[in-house]
Symmetry: C2
Subunit: 96 residues, 2 copies
């Protein structure tokens, strides 16, 4: 499996636009083959900091995801939302 | 490394008590040797659903964490906060 934690620091004034724009990305990703988890969370201590918690069956699923229209479409319009560049930690993972 | 996603569905009327009680657990865990990440997040789609995103150096660090007073102390008093039993997914993980 592949686990990704994608941290996104959003400009406060772009928070609502981000939350609207990200919805098709979340729904589209959750419907993908090989998507085991795709949850948008916000940090309790900083409500403009979001983390996408992602679990994928394998790298092929991640590759399909990265090529999907909901993924590329989101990043075409979202650049201006970010206060800092998106930062992702990515792991190869196996169930314990 | 060990990655844990601990999902907690909290009773709406216990939300504030949970947020107060969990603070020493978060601070204590972040200060532990071998703790690489310990972030309390809330689901954007369900504000009573929380996920602790945890990354630990190794199983020894997880064992020390599970035996720590901030961990055992939290679970002594928090049982009544949970609308559903805590559900954790746990992975052995390596950086990609």
């Amino acid at each position: 499996m592949i686990v990704i934690h994608a941290d996104m620091q959003i400009k406060p004034e772009k928070r609502e636009a981000f939350l609207q724009t990200v919805q098709p990305l979340v729904a589209g990703s959750q419907a993908e083959e090989g998507c085991l988890r795709y949850t948008l969370t916000q940090d309790v201590a900083n409500l403009n900091r979001f983390t996408m918690i992602e679990v994928w069956a394998d790298q092929d699923a991640v590759d399909r995801h990265n090529a999907s229209s909901h993924f590329t479409g989101f990043f075409k319009v979202s650049t201006d939302f970010f206060a800092l560049p998106l930062k992702a930690e990515k792991f190869t993972a196996a169930d314990v």
